[in-house]
């Protein structure tokens, strides 16, 4: 499992695991603050994105494959979530940073339990982590659908 994990995701995981519980929360907050704004063409069209039902706060995601100047087969994930929901923003940011730039095959090969390996269950609670598991599943489903069309 660990060997097959793409480099960016493995690095994020290792960064979390080497911190204390309290510092893991702060790193999650950093991710939250780093969530990039939606590309201009998507701004104001949030309702056209997919709502992540597993999360308590309104978070919307979308992916592209091989567009916006990316090579064919390269995935990019976009997400938006309110400032008042920093945990959810943090989850989205981890996935957006960890998955964007990977190939379709790499994204689909990410284990569904990746969020559980970040060592956040104690600091954030398993229930909340399930929101991130749901988010990853939705990203993979979108990628699969786009790849099938291509």
């Amino acid at each position: 499992m660990t060997d097959a994990l793409p480099q960016p995701l493995a690095e994020i995981r290792d960064d979390f695991l080497e911190l204390s519980q309290q510092d893991r929360l702060l790193l999650l907050l950093e991710f939250s603050n780093e969530l990039p704004a939606l590309p201009e063409r998507l701004q104001g069209h949030e309702d056209e994105l997919e709502r992540v039902e597993e999360c308590q706060s309104p978070v919307f995601i979308t992916v592209t494959v091989g567009t916006d100047g990316d090579a064919p087969g390269v995935v990019r994930m976009h997400a938006t979530a309110p400032r008042e929901a920093p945990t959810t923003r943090g989850f989205a940011s981890i996935l957006a940073q960890g998955l964007s730039g990977l190939t379709v095959e790499q994204v689909l090969a990410v284990p569904a339990d990746y969020p559980l390996t970040l060592g956040l269950s104690e600091a954030v609670s398993p229930l909340r982590i399930r929101g991130m598991v749901g988010m990853l599943g939705r990203v993979q489903r979108q990628v699969k659908a786009l790849a099938a069309v291509a």
């Binding site: 308590q56 400032r83 008042e84 920093p86 945990t87 104690e122 609670s125 749901g134």
Partner: protein, 306 residues
Amino acid sequence: MTAPVDPSEKFSAYAHPERLVSTEWLQHRLDEAGDEGTAPGLVVVESDEDVLLYETGHIPGAVKIDWHTDLNDPVQRDYIDGEAFAALLGGKGIARDSTVVIYGDKNNWWAAYALWVFTLFGHEDVRLLDGGRTKWIAEDRPLTTDRTAVTPVEYPVVERSDVAVRAFKEDVLAHLGKPLIDVRSAPEYSGERTTAPDYPEEGALRAGHVPTAVNIPWATAAAPDGTFKTREELDAIYREGAGIGDADEVIAYCRIGERSSHTWFVLQHLLGYENVRNYDGSWTEWGSAVRVPIAVGTEPGTIPNR
């Protein structure tokens, strides 16, 4: 050592005005304390739905208590025990005689839940900040991301008492026929859905409500600015609207017992009902339990023959 009671006129109409403080009152205490942190004997606690919201900025000197990672037992579906509670509170610098003021996001939804758990341990002086986090921010009052320096204190190990304010499934069955309030959203009550609109992870196998329960969604008790409605308005909603009248026993429930903590607070402390219990098993237990009666649709329904 306890802090003085907030003398606000709005609060004086409530049955227990000492259970609320205004943002002005808290600001005044903080200003008085100056650089020394908060006033002696007073600890401010933030309790939110989002576990990271406190870290984005909190009231100066406030500590964080999270409903999920701090107050729930990590293994069994229950609250923490007396030893864990003593360790938690002592570690936050809260003594048994401290005045605790709790505030949080979403109309104090989770703050009320924390207050209810404090009540299980008989912590005497615990209050809510009327309007919570939203009002504090709306009024441009100070927030900080500085880590609060806490001096741990000794908090005694007090055995949790579930008798007075907590109801279990059997209690609800025995209670049928007396006032019962379902504080979930209308579609959850009628049975159109088993989960709160934004909380699909906490579902139940069956949809509907406990027969005879009336539906008063919890946020009905809150004004647009997140503060509690006035005594008069609350009387109209619960005493008359929900038909509780002068009943002496009331049970409230929701999905896992957090939204109903908010209603419990209103009934117990603002309206002064003396025997109010919160059924924290709520719909996630009732809606998955075998052979308990369930009513569907918008009407309360009748007590089934037993």
